[in-house]
Amino acid sequence: MFRTQYDSDISIYSPEGRLYQIEYAMQAVAQGSTALGLKSKTHAVVVTLMRSSDELSSHQRKIFKVDGHMGIAISGLTADARVLLKFMRNETLHHKFVYGSDLPTGEVVSSLAMKSQRNTQRWGRRPYGVGLLVIGYDGGKTHLYQTSPSGNCFSYYAQAIGSRSQSARTYLEKNFKAFPELGLEELVLHGVKALKESSGKETLTKLNVGIAVVGKEQKFEILKPNKVQTYLDQILQTEGEIEIENENENEKDEEAETLELKLD
């Protein structure tokens, strides 16, 4: 069965009850480079891999601040992301002006979900081709949400989106139970390690890795490249330590052999 018959219009279902346009939009998200998010009881972190199209161009920014207590990491069509970012900034600013307080992350994500869904049910409009990971701290709790072109939004302990995100997700699935009690430094380290799983052949440098944090007594902040480098160094160091340990074990074996010879 050719699905091309039913996939050119958002307002047409396939016989299996699927809207292919939405699935194709989600494919656009999957083509973007990896973005992942994770949270503890006190902090929420996003880590991204920033691509550059060639040596001469800058790396594509994937992390944006929405408000003092909230930010996003994107994967997919950057231009669409800018539209949604503007919407979120507007909502949070309006709330602050009217109520004098921070807009709860969950509320803005719900509004975003409604907005995304509208584009899946209107003739002549296309779904937004971008997935967001929204992190925020409000009401004394950390939040991590994923939004998608379909208009679905879910809350997560940890999540990864974009190309090769499955490797990062596997790492996060293995380790997420420990996250709630971790401090900020360890949390970020886990994020960077997870990103390493999805980085493939690309080397992680302070220029192509983006990290942002938000949490208790921590306003949303995109870390500067030098700070990013300290985390990358720690990862490299741990790998180096494993190598050194192996060397030491070999030396011990040699010593044991010499002793035996002496007893003889």
Partner: protein, 227 residues
């Protein structure tokens, strides 16, 4: 052509509302009179009403506008409940948020030259602390530990300022309020001797039934034979 329909002057009015913070919370007080000019027309109205479990508002000025404000705020609470994911009570709108929202509403109305002719006291308990302040018909926002509206600003506020101490005892706070209400009954011609107290602590809101306060009218000049 349609006639212009907007507030020109207040018709049925309420007088002062007083508020004072104490150790465990805050107490508001007002009388129960709705004056029709100089006529003491409606003698059992409620000028202090609850909005949420932890917030009350009190109103001076045009009573119909105060009823409208009550409606607007209660409606906003319901709308917000639908938005909030958790459905938990602690996630409903805070007193400070209600206060901020009301100030935007009143300011918007004043900009259209059609004010809600009130001076509203907003008081409540949030995050372990008391929040109290006022908003008036021009949209001016104000927060303080002692609050008075209407004639209360002239008569009661100086007395409250002298008597107020941070974290004072409940009985002392009540005593200050009763003293001020008595003075207002003597001096403000648009009051009656019938009062309602609203107390807010971390447990919630408690609004009393109307009570009377003893007053003394034996003044030497008026006593027979003394003049």
């Amino acid at each position: 052509m349609q006639p212009k329909k907007k507030t020109l002057r207040p018709i049925v009015t309420g007088s002062s509302v007083l508020g004072i913070k104490y150790k465990d919370g805050v107490i508001l007080a007002s009388d129960t009179l709705g004056s029709y000019g100089s006529l003491a027309r409606f003698r059992d109205i409620r000028r202090i009403v609850p909005i949420t479990k932890h917030t009350v508002i009190g109103g001076t000025g045009e009573f119909s506008d105060f009823q409208e404000i009550t409606k607007i705020l209660r409606q906003k609470i319901i709308e917000n409940q639908e938005l909030v994911e958790s459905g938990k009570e602690e996630d409903e709108l805070l007193p400070s948020e209600i206060h901020s929202y009301l100030s935007r509403v009143l300011y918007g109305r004043r900009n259209k030259f059609n004010p809600l002719w009130n001076d509203v006291v907003v008081a409540g308990f949030e995050k372990g602390k008391v929040h109290m302040g006022t908003v008036d018909l021009w949209g001016s926002y104000f927060e303080d530990d002692i609050i008075a509206t209407g004639y209360g600003t002239y008569f009661a506020l100086p007395l409250m300022r002298k008597a107020y101490k941070k974290d004072m005892e409940r009985d002392k706070a009540l005593e200050v309020l009763r003293d001020c209400l008595t003075v207002l009954f003597y001096r403000d011609c648009r009051t009656i001797n019938r009062y309602v107290f609203a107390e807010i602590t971390k447990e919630g809101v408690n609004i009393t039934e109307p009570v009377e306060i003893e007053t003394k009218w034996e003044i030497a000049d008026w006593q027979e034979g003394k003049l």
